[in-house]
Symmetry: C2
Subunit: 345 residues, 2 copies
Amino acid sequence: MFKAERMAVLAEGKLGVLTSKTAACMVRYRPQHVVCIIDSTTGGQPVEKVLGFGGDIPVVGSLQEALALRPDTLLMGIAPRGGALPQAWRKVVLDSIDHGLNIISGLHTILGDDAEIGRAAASKKVGIWDIRKPVLPIEVSRGLLRTKTGHVLLTVGSDCRTGKMTVAYELAGFLNGRGCKAAFVPTGQTGILLAGWGVAVDRVPGDFMAGVTEDLTLKGLAAAPLAIVEGQGSLIHPGYSGVALALLHGCCPDGLILCHEPGREKIEGYGIPIPALSDLVRIYEEAAAPVFPSKVVAIALNTYCLSEQAAAEAVRAAQAETGIATGDVLRWGPEALCGALEGVL
Amino acid sequence: MFKAERMAVLAEGKLGVLTSKTAACMVRYRPQHVVCIIDSTTGGQPVEKVLGFGGDIPVVGSLQEALALRPDTLLMGIAPRGGALPQAWRKVVLDSIDHGLNIISGLHTILGDDAEIGRAAASKKVGIWDIRKPVLPIEVSRGLLRTKTGHVLLTVGSDCRTGKMTVAYELAGFLNGRGCKAAFVPTGQTGILLAGWGVAVDRVPGDFMAGVTEDLTLKGLAAAPLAIVEGQGSLIHPGYSGVALALLHGCCPDGLILCHEPGREKIEGYGIPIPALSDLVRIYEEAAAPVFPSKVVAIALNTYCLSEQAAAEAVRAAQAETGIATGDVLRWGPEALCGALEGVL
């Protein structure tokens, strides 16, 4: 694999913490490797102005402007619904290849398998890292984790984009900093980008999702006595619930961390009501029970859109409703959730 | 696609109603197109002796013997766990191609994409129908079925191989015979073989399983006011639960038919206890509720391994425990389940 030390990150029309997850996470966790963000709708200002963090990394309006900053890689920093490649981005990808940039993409469309893009990359000798391309061979679940040594935590959610990746990543980092060895287990494109390994479970054929999850979790447990698995989707999501259940049954978690954005009342894009947190806790615990009983041990709220006061109030309300330790790992750090982990570890 | 009017069906070492589902279903529903079964362990007798039905279709011990019966097609009638192609079968496939037979396969291994097999097929100009190969492009679920006109039934199960395909197929046939138009919606290899359309949902990447299910169900509803969707796996299956939940949320069923084999106490291959039927009813209804509330309206037992008396007793016991109409569609016909459907249709 090529190095990606000077990334131009495409977030066209969507730059935001909730709308361009991958771009925002790269700015948050790998700012030293981001030379700019490309978004014509917010271009011309520093990224801090748009996201609230990221300092003076510039947002530029076009690939042409980005090239002046000598990037070595174009990273697709957004994922449209369905993960296909929009026609407008195809041109950005081809122009980037033409200028010798490597490409990193987490789209469902495997860019390296696209005839035109594959041909262009070969002729310019640039690399394409399709993060979502499953690595074969893959196995069905062998049920090995039910008798595992070591412990597993899984982040689960009320919906997509509620912080499952961030909470797992932050918690693993925090625990490692305290001398408690923990492995972050990446199951989605941004987590894989950050960790440099993993499989995008949502791209794996249905029959193999739990098996891939098992395999990733075993790798995590080989590296540390605690594996913190990045969850995907939600058990109540009409489109992605199957992925969420495969992860839940595939990793046999000892504890669950429920991620939610306070104020979000409906599943985005589907209008299905999100139940109360206490109902979500029950839904996850009952779904886990037949295969490997597990409890929600902590609730991680994503209060990015709230004031400090409203955020504190949301945490208080969630904790009062559920009786479960609640916090926001980005706003106040993961410490509030860690006490609750002791019961399961 | 080629015609398959004289199939030799490979069921090597596994011929049985529960062990070679596809082979047994072809014998049951398409006997006129089956010239023989290949299984060296039961070869030399009529299939009726082994399965209890199928008349004098011969079981032969080898491809060589099968060729004497002038087959036009080799059908892979068994699916090993994980769906890969065992080495011994590779030779049977290659020899079949060498003798000019077309190949039908529902394995996860896409035979047409295998370099050696693909090359052989091209050189002999024979066709390969990989039933599990997903047809692109595919969409994520659009949530269209929540406001559908028409009705949807879904068969669900306590485990794999409990009769979900058979019950859906039999029920659709029975209702059509009574002038109540119903469309069987195939989601797995055997159903697709029988109906000539459909998608193997367990082979579809996770994010798209519900979308494919939605699409198939809409096709069913375009053909008839009642779509009976073939379920897959089980919500309590450690390997395949994700597929089952995607189907449940993807097709927005008005009613569920729970399929179970009385006496089976554990998930095959995993040793996980199968809960009581009344618990399974609750598990399915609670999993459906957040997206599209649905009730279990009938229980379909697979009493193939029981005596007539034990089967009747199992039906009585299930009905007494759950209060839900129960029957065995193969032993006594689907009529016992039909009364219960009126409440949801």
